[in-house]
């Protein structure tokens, strides 16, 4: 809360001609929208980012930030935030449409997920944990009942079979959860945010190029090794990219505001 207020104060002090009417998140959001309408995309983007840095999460906020970044000429970062908006709301039509627009413009690389992977991605991660543990207990309780209570001992075979079925289902849930976490979950993916990114054959400056990665391209992070990141590239390719050229789709980094923002550090009194 305090962080949010501080950020809001910083934003309020960053200009003398356009300030938010209040310091709540909705006011800052609307103020950022006004900046966008006036064509000051840089200011709009920094305002959206300040809300995100304050811990506010919203698909609309992410969508607006993506759109604003594109107007700034940062197509890679725009794609990243549009992806994040769709992670929060997979049916956000504006984000889908703008993604399609960027797809036609920059021809970035994307993984062709099959239906099964899309289905798994759509399931909240807690489902596998809850489902798996509940099924384990149901299986164990069914088997225990078949031995413990006379009423259940009459149909002991059926109860044991039911218990084994529950345990098997629990194993399947566990493996599906593992697969989702390691392959399908958004935490595994990153977006190329710079314009001149290339995947190299080795984590050394002079190594050969595997493929050029247009901004907005999607990669699967396999290993982060300091300034280099080893990634899985659409098209069954692998290569090393500079760590600063990619950013994970999820979770959000600690600070999303670029360091070179021109926001005053000293609080300034604001005249209404």
């Amino acid at each position: 809360m305090i962080r949010g207020l501080c950020c809001a104060m910083l934003l309020l002090t960053s200009t003398s001609w356009s300030v938010p009417k209040g310091n709540d998140k909705d006011s800052i959001f609307q103020w950022a929208n006004e900046n966008f309408e006036q064509g000051d995309f840089e200011k709009a983007s920094s305002s959206y980012r300040s809300l995100i840095d304050s811990g506010h999460i919203s698909p609309d906020l992410f969508y607006n930030l993506g759109t604003s970044l594109y107007r700034e000429g940062k197509a890679g970062e725009a794609m990243l935030w549009l992806r994040r908006a769709q992670l929060l709301d997979g049916n956000l039509p504006e984000a889908k449409q703008n993604t399609e627009f960027l797809r036609t413009r920059i021809a970035f690389l994307e993984f062709a997920d099959d239906g099964f992977q899309l289905f798994l991605r759509g399931i909240p991660p807690g489902v596998f944990l809850w489902g798996g543990s509940l099924l384990v207990w149901l299986g164990l309780v069914s088997i225990a009942l078949s031995f413990s209570l006379q009423r259940f001992r009459d149909n002991q075979t059926w109860w044991i079979a039911l218990g084994i079925a529950f345990l098997m289902l629990s194993f399947v849930m566990h493996r599906l959860g593992q697969f989702r976490d390691s392959r399908v979950a958004p935490e595994n993916f990153a977006t190329v945010i710079v314009t001149d990114a290339v995947a190299s054959t080795a984590p050394t400056p002079g190594s050969s190029t595997v493929i050029e990665l247009p901004p907005g391209s999607e990669v699967r992070v396999l290993q982060v090794n300091g300034p280099w990141t080893y990634v899985d590239i659409p098209g069954n390719l692998r290569g090393w990219v500079r760590s600063e050229s990619v950013e994970a789709n999820w979770p959000l980094p600690e600070k999303t505001t670029p360091r070179n923002l021109d926001i005053p550090t000293e609080p300034v009194e604001i005249a209404e």
Binding site: S58, P59, N64, Y70, L102, W137, A144, L145
Partner: protein
């Protein structure tokens, strides 16, 4: 008196000759090994395998694994020994086989070589072999059971011209050719497509039926000049005539035979000078179509041009079309990408298609996308042909609006009026710009940390674990109680009773009473025991009763050791639960 002289002379002569003609004297001379060199055939076609044999009499020899002959590969393949008996003397003959193969025509000499046989060195004679070119007319040779043939439709063609050809394997007999295991056909000046299709046929060659497998492919030359193509090596899987136990179709075995085809001499002509600037490497006969991704844009917005080239010929060497006239400072162009899928490539007979995509950006306000040109060389006409697209009208402005893509195809010669579709087509979306931001108040999400387990998760786990362990404990207590109840209701068990039977020295009453109780328990525990065992039990029980209750059995007398062991042995033979 002169008579004795002739016999003396004769004897002296005989004595003088004897040491020379005695067989013992001949046998003592050391045996001299010999070597002879022969070839199965001194005339072998290029690429085919010939065999040369070194026959050595007199034992094993040390032979080289390879014999160096310039232009000829000669390599050792194996040896075979046999013992010959001649005039009572055994000699060992060993045949060392070498295979040779030549890739150039000419006469080659396998040189004399020194061979160490035992401790003696012998020298073989030089052997001449001829490597000749088997041309297409000689390839169909009905005297050979298996052979291959390389066929080219023409012997003169241009650089980059796509030439279809076939490699065919022939095997004598119906259904004698099973399949083709491999084909090796390479030349550094030619790019050849891999053999993907096999067509099997059959027919008579010189009154003999042959099964054949035809492998079509294409090639094109990289440089002009005269070249000899082939021989191609074919691995043919044939029916092994020695297998099958007389049931050829069911138990038959196959084996792979390697054969070399004939060679073909070809002349590759250079492309004529004077190629247009828009010539990008295509040789054949083609058509060109161009499609812009959008036709209403702003200055600086990219248009993705899609070019589709269809036709017969070499599409692998072809590059993308270019502007007819240079568009410096009007249109910015990026490198085109090419998409040529194997299934869509021309095979020299049927038409193929190749796609090029190129991003172009208007840097000024223009009305049309200028014409693109693509030139190719037509080998049948022996001239360059230039294809040109029509100018494509576009609207370049600050405001953008959705429009449909336009497909235009221009035939090779002349122009035809545009055909419009007779019925309305469904409009498709165009993504010309980003949507505006969302201006309504956003939907804020409290948290997304769905992976965190939370108190509820642990609470549910606790409830289930308590329920499970309670049930387990309940079940365990129940089981223990049931076990005790069962033991009480059933009375003493046979297993326990035989342990309490007293030993020798106690009274007979005490002993027989215990035995009787044990037998009764056994009978209770085994209600369905076999009759013969029950009879034994009854007899032993009657004996116990007689001692205990008849009054004549001296029940108070001490039990003897023999008596105790006799009954104990009977009881121990009874099965226990």
């Amino acid at each position: 008196m002169a008579l004795p002289k002739p016999p003396l002379l004769f004897l002296l002569t005989v004595l003088a000759i004897l040491p020379i003609t005695r067989p013992e004297a001949r046998a003592q001379q050391p045996f001299q090994p010999t070597v002879s060199v022969t070839a199965l055939s001194n005339r072998v076609a290029i690429g085919e395998i010939g065999v040369v044999m070194f026959k050595i009499n007199g034992g094993d020899a040390q032979m080289p694994s390879k014999i160096a002959v310039e232009g000829l590969e000669v390599a050792f393949t194996g040896k075979e020994s046999r013992v010959n008996m001649s005039q009572g003397v055994n000699t060992i003959q060993t045949i060392y086989s070498y295979r040779f193969r030549g890739n150039e025509p000419g006469t080659f000499t396998i040189p004399e070589i020194d061979i160490l046989v035992g401790r003696t060195t012998v020298r073989s004679k030089a052997l001449e072999v001829i490597i000749y070119e088997r041309d297409e007319s000689e390839a169909m040779d009905a005297t050979r059971p298996i052979f291959g043939k390389l066929e080219m439709p023409k012997a003169e063609f241009y650089v980059n011209e796509l030439l279809p050809f076939t490699v065919t394997g022939y095997v004598r007999g119906r259904n004698s050719l099973r399949d083709i295991s491999h084909v090796k056909f390479e030349h550094e000046n030619f790019v050849m497509k891999s053999f993907r299709n096999v067509r099997t046929e059959g027919g008579e060659i010189g009154n003999t039926y042959y099964s054949s497998a035809i492998l079509p492919s294409t090639l094109f030359a990289l440089q002009p000049g005269s070249f000899r193509l082939g021989p191609a090596d074919i691995g043919i899987r044939v029916l092994d005539s020695g297998s099958g136990f007389g049931f050829s179709s069911f138990f038959s075995r196959t084996m792979i035979k390697d054969v070399a085809t004939n060679t073909v001499n070809v002349t590759v002509k250079p492309l004529p000078n004077g190629a247009p600037l828009s010539y990008t490497g295509g040789v054949g006969k083609f058509k060109l179509a161009a499609v812009p991704s959008i036709t209403k844009i702003s200055v600086g917005d990219p248009i993705s041009m899609k070019f589709v080239v269809t036709g017969t010929g070499n599409m692998q060497t072809m590059e993308a079309p270019r502007f007819s006239v240079a568009q410096t400072d009007i249109w910015k162009t990026y490198d085109a990408s090419k998409k040529l899928e194997d299934e869509m490539d021309s095979d020299g007979y049927s038409e193929g298609a190749v796609e090029f995509s190129q991003v172009i950006i208007p840097e000024a306000k223009v009305d049309t996308i200028p014409p693109f040109e693509l030139s190719y060389f037509d080998p049948s006409e022996e001239k360059y042909v230039t294809l040109k697209t029509d100018p494509i009208p576009i609207e370049v402005s600050a405001d953008t609006a959705g429009t449909q893509s336009v497909m235009m195809e221009r035939p090779e010669s002349g122009s035809s009026p545009q055909n419009f579709p007779s019925s309305a087509s469904k409009p498709t979306a165009s993504y010309n710009d980003m949507l505006h931001i969302r201006t309504a108040n956003p939907r804020w999400i409290a948290t997304l940390d769905t992976k965190k387990k939370g108190v509820l998760f642990y609470l549910v786990q606790s409830v289930f674990s308590i329920a499970f362990f309670t049930l387990l404990g309940f079940g365990a207590v129940r089981w223990w109680k049931e076990r005790e109840l069962r033991a009480t209701a059933d009375g003493p068990r046979f297993r326990d009773l035989i342990k309490t039977i007293p030993g020798p020295g106690t009274t007979r009453r005490e002993f027989y009473q215990s035995v009787s109780d044990a037998l009764a328990a056994w009978k209770d525990e085994h209600p369905e025991a076999p009759d013969n065992i029950l009879q034994v039990i009854d007899r032993v029980g009657e004996k116990c009763d007689a001692i205990l209750y008849s009054g004549a059995g001296q029940p108070n007398a001490p039990l003897s050791r023999d008596e105790a062991s006799e009954f104990r042995s009977i009881l121990q033979k009874l099965p226990q639960k």
